[in-house]
Assembly symmetry: D2
Homo-oligomer: 239 residues x 4
């Protein structure tokens, strides 16, 4: 069983009428709902306004894969919580950053770059699979159409990904490395670009499939790590 | 002309008799001395005890490649200075981390992992070239012997490098990804493992050649970047 | 169920007394024997002296992962069979090349380089895990000792691997990228260096574990490919 | 001085009126003409109908970077010549494949995959820089518009590139990894997608700049290789 925690800042859905209509219970609730249908996945949620953002040591230690949606309140997440999340990833927890979470504190900490990009709302997007053997691409067609999505375009200031699983095309003339993966420490990281709060992206069965695949891909490996520190090895292996 | 700043915490050389004998003027002075002989390189130095660690905005803006040696006082570098250095790298400055600088604040910020490793003093090392076409390997033999060096061994908790230019072999039984490269933002980063303060590593002509090559490799590219921020692009390229 | 075919040229074991003692039924039989114990794997074997080298279209079409051991008779494999194997990999079959199969026709075809290396018999080897989250590394320790193995050393003329799962250390002073992976077309490829015919490598539980993991890693993905050819797409997706 | 040989099958330009109008002296002549203006580059040409395709041992041994344009007569290049070219690349010669040369014998040999793709004539294309620090991207803007080009789209069956320097966007709805690089053996390889014979691509100053940059990038490194064979090393480095 893969234990997923879906974290959402949960502000847009309570403040904006448009967003409320799309996600009346919150983006996290919608993501939870389609992951809940999977037999090997169990889901809880956490939001910004909970104590410690709902990301206590206890919760994180009980999380295999953390999904992160955020947009307007990145700075509201205390540095200490962001560091805690990043350290858990380095210890082996999987991490999926959605859409505007490219600018969240944990993503910036883990990737080390600014994660800045070009943007404009109101494009049609087509995701092209550029790594058909990747676990995240399984069961998905060569391309996926998204009727309306915020354009996130190059240059995307991230480290060269391990894999660019999907490359985005926009009718407005841009491209983007839309679904990308990294390993950092013992943890796997996936960034998935579609997911603007005013569009019903998380109702799209293909996007749901990408997220489900990403959860299984990012689930912790068997090899455990017992420390993030250097280890002094006093005894040489050879004399 | 490539403008290099060699930064050194400059503590070991003043506190320890052994180190003082090897580097009487400091590690930075020795690195400066062999880079100074290159016609296309101009060098200044900076140390921890200078105001702002010698790394004012002015100095950094006038630096093409920053070389960093540090060991016992990583925490003495203020967060603000470390962030300033990292941001300059993301804007395009080259960065070379030497030996124990694997644990420096700027390296951790830029790579996002712990950069932890296994260690023990007192090995012989042999560096094997595993990327013979890489600019940093030019003019160097297939392998380089180092009579005595501190063992830094795997697992080295860094992101998968763009290139592993040299892989280290130790007579005590370990291996290491010893000379590795990354691109982060517009900046190029090189980590070079040999360089323990008690060994005359920076007098070794091969190591000097590696550092000279690394300086030229990491020198800023022609394409400039004018911001680290996202850019809103109101006008679509297509209608 | 993963269908594995173990291919062996099966010459050393019939010609040399030393090898016959180590692998009386042939290397392929020993590999089959330890894979046969896995519930999700079913194994057949094929050898050079069978018609079409035992690698008919029928056999290959019924193979999920092909394991290849060869040394003295690479040239005896007809070009047509080598091409057939490579094409099956590009269509999605997994491929594991063992030890001296680095110089086999299918490996050279698929990787495009010479696959040449430095070699000498009679070393002790230690395999260091340099990618602990990789599926092939799961359940294995940080390092594995091999009492006696042929030294295969750098420079290893292969394309930069997707992952260097294990890096080899030799008591005789060399290093090697010993367990490496690639994706080519829809197929996954693993090269595993230990396995000299005079040493009981394939009785070593760690090496067996590496091969078992490699079989599962290289098993075909769900996404199928229906052609190796270009596709003309007369109808534009946009007008 | 970088010695470039531009190879062209030179058939379209003699058979088709449309192409003849665009490239009256042949595509190779046009490429030669803009490279000839560079002080550090000297150019010769070779075509399919010359003895040994104009690619004798002597010519190849005197070539630093080989540029290859071909489309309708890939099969007319003898296997022996294709192998000779590939071996020269593995020894260190740079290689630039243009447009439909994706399906040439040397490119398939060197990359090991089918190099197949989706295609349709008659799109507008925009090349987006996705690796702004790469030598091939220097002096070029964030994106380049091409008024009319043949669409080459994903899935492009090539190994994961070292770098995707430009990603192509098409008004007809596709994307492509348009300018990509590899190292194979001691040689550097660049593939550049624009260049359909009916379009005046090689008069475009940006494409010319990309090719000039690619020539300098692919020029042989200083480290020489003296053989493509394995080397037996009888004397251990350690006792």
């Amino acid at each position: 069983m893969i234990k997923v925690t879906v974290w959402n800042e949960f502000l847009h859905e309570r403040k904006g009428e448009v967003v409320k209509k799309v996600y009346p219970e919150g983006i996290h609730a919608q993501i939870k709902s389609f992951l809940d249908t999977e037999e090997d996945i169990t889901v809880r949620t956490a939001t910004l306004d909970e104590p410690e953002c709902g990301l206590t040591e206890e919760v994180l230690n009980d999380t295999d894969v953390l999904i992160w949606w955020a947009h307007m309140a990145h700075e509201k997440v205390p540095d200490e919580i962001a560091r805690r999340v990043a350290d858990r990833v380095l210890m082996g927890m999987g991490m999926i950053f959605l859409h505007s979470a490219h600018y969240s504190k944990p993503m910036k900490i883990l990737l080390g770059t600014t994660c800045s990009l070009a943007w404009r709302d109101g494009s049609r997007e087509r995701l092209w699979c550029t790594a058909p053997t990747h676990p995240i691409a399984q069961g998905l067609p060569l391309y996926i159409d998204i009727e309306r999505e915020e354009m996130y375009g190059e240059f995307f200031d991230v480290p060269k990904p391990d894999d660019v699983v999907f490359t985005g095309w926009y009718n407005t003339g841009e491209v983007f490395r839309s679904v990308i993966t990294y390993v950092r420490g013992h943890g796997k990281i996936v960034y998935i670009q579609p997911g603007h709060e005013t569009n019903p992206i998380y109702y799209n069965p293909y996007i749901q499939k990408i997220i489900k695949n990403a959860v299984r891909f990012a689930a912790p490996c068997e090899n455990l790590r017992d420390t993030l520190e250097c280890s002094n090895e006093p005894a040489p292996l050879e004399k």
